[in-house]
């Protein structure tokens, strides 16, 4: 038993830097370059088998591994939490296969991989945000035919998306879509902002940082480069609103200006979704 584990451990020493072979990383970087050049356009890439299951962040992981350098400092969060099991495992995989430093602080980090959130702290041009994407196609729920989807994107024919927003408003009085809100990127492609809440959408608009999106199961990457227009789709007379709850404040740090999540099983009990941000406020 011990021998087997040791042998396996020895074997990992021969693995290439950042786990993937150089050709694979190159292929992913090429796709990313195209993605940055065509903001919001979903670029196909040869998604690899990873040591995590597809649907568990394999797309984001492949991007991180393809772009990580020896001097990067890596932060990984899951729902805003650095200590989530998946976040810990992905972070460990990146740092042990590269020897890079890790941090939970945004200002110390350069490469931030995330599922479901953009950190509350301001990010600058030295940051790259990598988002794990389950469903990269914003029109998936509206049109199933792949050929028709490709045509709609090619001709920027998004009337069906508008009809679905219209229907949502008619049936529910408000536009109910919360996470993954569809946005028009650089005035051209309607893009899925993946499961980040509406709260985070305004932060993508003219951001200082580069955002890369990776969908491992769906084999697509896309990007929102810095200083790019990101407009949430909404009617002129129906303003886009972020989530809010009356009187909600974080039970730990007292914040009312961060994205708050309800504590499971309790009513009217809220806490910051970004745990590193919340902890720093409590210590200050």
């Amino acid at each position: 038993m011990t021998t087997t584990v040791r042998r396996l451990a020895d074997a990992t020493r021969d693995l290439p830097f950042a786990l993937l072979d150089e050709e694979s990383k190159r292929e992913i970087r090429r796709a990313l370059l195209q993605a940055v050049a065509t903001p919001g356009y979903q670029v196909p890439f040869g998604s690899r088998e990873m040591p995590v299951a597809r649907g568990w962040g394999s797309g984001g992981l492949q991007i991180s591994l393809a772009i990580v350098g020896r001097n990067d400092v890596v932060k990984v969060i899951d729902q805003g939490d650095d200590e989530g099991v998946n976040a810990v495992n992905l972070r460990r995989l990146i740092t042990t296969s590269t020897g890079t430093e890790e941090s939970t602080e945004v200002d110390e980090s350069t490469l931030i991989q995330s599922r479901h959130r953009i950190p509350e702290d301001a990010m600058g041009e030295d940051h790259i945000l990598v988002l794990q994407v389950p469903v990269p196609e914003p029109l998936r729920g509206i049109e199933r035919d792949m050929k028709e989807l490709a045509r709609m994107h090619a001709e920027a024919d998004y009337s069906k998306m508008w009809v679905s927003l219209y229907e949502d408003k008619v049936r529910n009085g408000v536009i109910t879509q919360t996470t993954g809100y569809p946005c028009l990127v650089a005035g051209r492609y309607v893009t899925a902002t993946t499961p980040i809440p509406r709260w985070d959408i305004p932060r993508l608009h003219h951001s200082e940082f580069l955002t890369l999106f990776g969908a491992g199961r769906e084999k697509r990457v896309y990007a929102i480069p810095p200083h790019t227009d990101v407009e949430p789709l909404t009617f002129e007379d129906v303003p886009f609103e972020v989530e809010s709850a009356d009187g909600a404040r974080c039970k730990l740090c007292g914040s009312t200006e961060s994205f708050l999540v309800e504590t499971p099983g309790e009513t009217s009990s809220w806490s910051c979704s970004d745990t590193a941000w919340c902890r720093r406020r409590r210590l200050a």
Binding site: S159, K160, V163, Y166, E167, K169, V170, E236
Partner: protein, 287 residues
Amino acid sequence: MNHDDLLSVPSPVVSVNGLGKVFGTFDPSMIERTGPTTGTARDAFSGSIVAAWDVNFEVAAGEALGIVGESGSGKSTVLRCIAGDQPATTGDVRFTCHEEGTVNVLRLDPATRRRLRIDKLSVVYQDPAEGLALGVTAGGNIADPLTAAGWRNFGRIRSRAAELLERTEVPLDRMDDIVRNFSGGMRQRVQIARALANNPAIVLLDEPTTGLDASVASGVLDLVRRLLEELDLAVVVVSHDFSVIEMLTQRCIVMQHGRVVEEALTDQLLEDPQHSYSQKLVAAARA
């Protein structure tokens, strides 16, 4: 009245010249092996179907032209080629509302062709499922062409949809119901409302009342006739039903085995059909 007088009008909105559609491989020699003279649209040599050949007509604003014929005569194919639902094999189709009629729309790229369908040309299909999204509300079905044309104001989209539904006599309290829950006649009215959303210059009607029971059909026909009079549209109506053609059109063409066998003023055709096939059709309708 001679041949040319009947097919051309002073200032046409739609001009169709030499329109042809062949399903299967095409070879010019198959033209003489098919048509009314041989009694079939199917070329025995190649197996291809000459669904429509050498179709010519013009339609002016405020007028409706009928295309009559039995099932398989090629009338719907002609309409679908003009609409852009099917690529034509040959021919020249011009709309004065597009580039002043200097462009053969059959040669446009698919994206530009679809663009025409948003604000210049609408089609009302026999089967509402083809023209409507049945899982979407009546208002949403009208919002579709409006948003495609760039409408982004929810309140204005709502009031335009309400205005159109009122005009097509759909009760406003059904505006937010999905179309699947509508009766056949009501679905057709929604389809017509949607077709008029962006004030098109041209409307193509493909058997608009077939499949509706007689009383419902006559209500829909009344509506269509009123809209034709009010809106100055150029209309093509395809139908096998002479009562529809008689009610809506002033001129019509008769098709058999993919060819036009007679063109006439509608009254004249019904009173005194010239071609033997037209005589048969009229006799059958009058029986």
